[in-house]
């Protein structure tokens, strides 16, 4: 039995150090776009970006998001969408919140109000600025 366990450990060690399959400790499933109006965090699954005239059009698994290029400041990857900073509560637009079943949880005056009101869980926030997925911890 000890031999088997040792062999399994050795195999796992070899695999994890072979370079073919490397352990990834840093995962960045979110890309946040910061504009003059605030920040929008999108999941990176199937995410593609096109420059379309004066706009940056972002398409991901959840839909299409459009940003005015002149208003764009930066974008960055993050490992979590749950931070309030990422959500940027300066977005003052009416925000609808859905749970993962697609059910409307509530409608709020802005994102900050929505974030403050939500309990722990994963939600989709929809506003004119875009749709984002967040995790409240």
């Amino acid at each position: 039995m000890k031999k088997i366990i040792f062999m399994i450990f050795a195999f796992v060690f070899m695999v994890s150090h072979s370079g073919r399959i490397q352990a990834k400790t840093n995962e960045y499933p979110y890309l946040t776009f910061v504009t003059n109006e605030g920040a929008t965090t999108l999941t990176v699954a199937s995410l593609s970006i096109q420059v379309d005239g004066e706009n940056l059009v972002v398409t991901n698994a959840e839909g299409v998001h459009t940003f005015v290029l002149e208003h764009l400041q930066k974008m960055y990857f993050s490992s979590s969408s749950s931070s309030v900073e990422d959500l940027n509560s300066t977005v003052k637009e009416k925000t609808e919140v859905y749970n993962l079943k697609g059910e409307l949880v509530g409608t709020y005056a802005n994102r900050a109000e929505a974030v403050n009101a939500l309990e722990t869980g994963i939600y989709v926030l929809k506003s004119k600025s875009g749709t984002i997925k967040i995790a409240i911890r």
Binding site: M1, I5, I8, F9, V12, V15, S16, I21, Q22, A23, K24, N26, E27, Y28, P29, L31, V44, L47, S48, I49, Q50, V51, E54, V68, L69, E70, H71, L72, Q73, K74, M75, Y76, F77
Partner: protein, 509 residues
């Protein structure tokens, strides 16, 4: 137990999760940024974006995508596909390279800012194009990998070379193991070679590289050139097969050179004066050629086979050279301590040293043309000598007059052309095949007194030197050849051609 296995499998599954990469696509180039490394990607005034110091005009950005493709840091890959080429640049070094693509003609300028901190950049080339090239310039050491590349430069844009590396530092050429690569340059242009590197070249890995030099040399390094493991085949060249400066070192692998207009291998002194051999070849600019291993085959129908403008040192390997002029020539001393050597100069010497020539070991089969040429020639005109102290020697065409023969030599004044001979020694029989023509005297020597037979049939043994010699040979038949003691005063004497085939039609060249 189940828990342990489950835990380990889970660990493996977690390990297999891939990372995110931001791909910034321009016309022919994709810049790849690892999510973990890229940090903030800044947008400026709606007209440009900056990622890791690399600025892109948004009008040039065709699209961006996030994928799971892994990015190899410090790597640029070029994939040729007939009339086009696509380049991928690792984001961490994107700001240090300027890429230009015209059809399948690729130019990359590596910034002078690349240094030890940035690290060496690898350029990985693959794919096929009948009209493409790779041109790179830089000032820091680099690596070029041939990873299944077939590239012909039909209509030069940047140079006539198929691959031109204008980098004066150390350039690794990795011929990726398991791949076959073929380079062909343009028939006109100003290129120095089909594969040209301004600096010093170190060939590595075990793949195959075939090169055609349509305009000048097939392969040229501005500085030293070393070969380890790679299988390099010069299919033809207008100039030399391999040309370099400073020094040439063959450690292992194979180098096959055919159909060259000039020398098979030539090594020059780069500067005004030779440094001579240095410790570990540090800073060496000697014009020396060192062969310590590997297999070299040279066919040079118009010139010398292997020419060193410095010394020549052979300690190992298997070297077969057939040349119109001297087969193996050195401007300074030539020393043979090991290896298997076949050297035939059809119109000159087999081995020719313009300094002293030392044979201390190995197996040497040298063939020179009719007198005054000899099989083994040292520069007696300048009071140099051939010193023979050990090894096994077969020399058709005799030895340089005045040679110092510490090991006894034996000879016969006539020999049969295109005939298998068996030289029986204490420990083995060595079979060798005579050429169609050569000088008259056949000299043999080994550590034990040899017995010689002519006209044998070889039925077994270890074939070396492309079938010119069998070691540990099994032979039958033949007739004994009477051998006489050979003295140094016999060398270099005028004489006719070999009997009966000297100079007869059908000979090699």
């Amino acid at each position: 137990m189940k828990r342990i296995i489950t835990a380990l499998l889970s660990l493996m599954m977690v390990s297999a999760i891939s990372a995110q990469t931001l791909n910034v696509h321009t016309d022919y180039v994709t810049y790849q940024y690892a999510a973990a490394e890229v940090g903030d990607v800044d947008y400026l005034s709606g007209t440009s974006l900056i990622a890791l110091g690399k600025s892109f005009a948004l009008k040039d950005v065709k699209s961006m995508q996030v994928t799971d493709e892994e990015v190899t840091p410090n790597q640029v890959s070029v994939a040729y596909s007939e009339s086009s080429a696509h380049v991928k640049v690792a984001g961490n070094i994107a700001k240090y390279v300027t890429v230009e693509v015209s059809g399948a003609h690729v130019s990359i300028v590596q910034s002078d800012e690349v240094n030890d901190e940035v690290g060496e950049i690898s350029y990985v080339l693959s794919g096929t194009s009948a009209d493409g090239e790779f041109y790179m310039s830089g000032s820091y050491k680099a690596t070029v990998e041939f990873n299944g590349l077939t590239l012909t430069n039909a209509t030069p844009v940047y140079s006539g070379a198929a691959v031109c590396v204008m980098d004066g530092k150390r350039v690794n050429i990795k011929v990726v193991t398991g791949t076959t690569n073929t380079l062909t340059d343009a028939v006109s242009g100003n290129q120095k070679a089909c594969l040209y590197v301004k600096g010093h070249v170190e060939f590595k890995q075990k793949g195959t590289l075939k090169v055609v030099g349509n305009y000048a040399h097939a392969i040229k390094a501005g500085e030293y050139l070393t070969i380890k493991n790679a299988d390099i085949q010069v299919l033809s060249a207008v100039g030399d097969g391999v040309n370099c400066s400073e020094y040439f070192l063959m450690e292992s692998g194979s180098l096959n050179i055919a159909k060259v207009g000039d020398e098979g291998i030539q090594c020059d002194v780069d500067g005004d004066a030779s440094t001579g051999e240095t410790a570990n070849h540090e800073g060496e600019d000697s014009g020396n050629i060192y062969i310590t291993g590997g297999v070299i085959t040279v066919s040079a129908p118009r010139s010398e086979g292997i020419e060193s403008k410095g010394a020549m040192t052979i300690t190992g390997g298997e070297i077969k050279v057939e040349a119109y002029d001297d087969a193996i020539n050195s401007s300074q001393d030539m020393t043979i301590e090991g290896g298997y050597i076949y050297a035939r100069g059809s119109n000159n010497d087999g081995l020719d040293s313009n300094g002293n020539l030392y044979i201390k070991g190995g197996l040497v089969y040298a063939i020179g043309a009719r007198s005054p040429e000899v099989a083994v020639d040292a520069n007696t005109e300048q009071n140099k000598k051939f010193y023979f102290t050990g090894g096994t020697l077969v020399a058709i065409g005799g030895l340089e007059n005045g040679s110092q023969l510490s090991q006894s030599c034996y000879s016969t004044s006539s020999w049969n052309t295109n005939t298998w001979y068996a030289m029986t020694l204490d420990d083995q029989t060595i079979a060798f095949k005579t050429p169609a023509s050569a000088g008259s005297t056949l000299v043999v020597s080994s550590s034990s007194t040899p017995a010689l037979k002519s006209g044998v049939t070889v039925s077994g043994g270890t074939e070396i030197l492309d079938g010119m010699i069998f070691l540990n040979a099994t032979t039958t038949g033949g007739s004994s050849v009477t051998l006489s003691s050979y003295t140094s005063s016999q060398g270099g004497s005028p004489g006719g051609g070999g009997f009966p085939g000297g100079g007869r039609p059908g000979g090699w060249w």
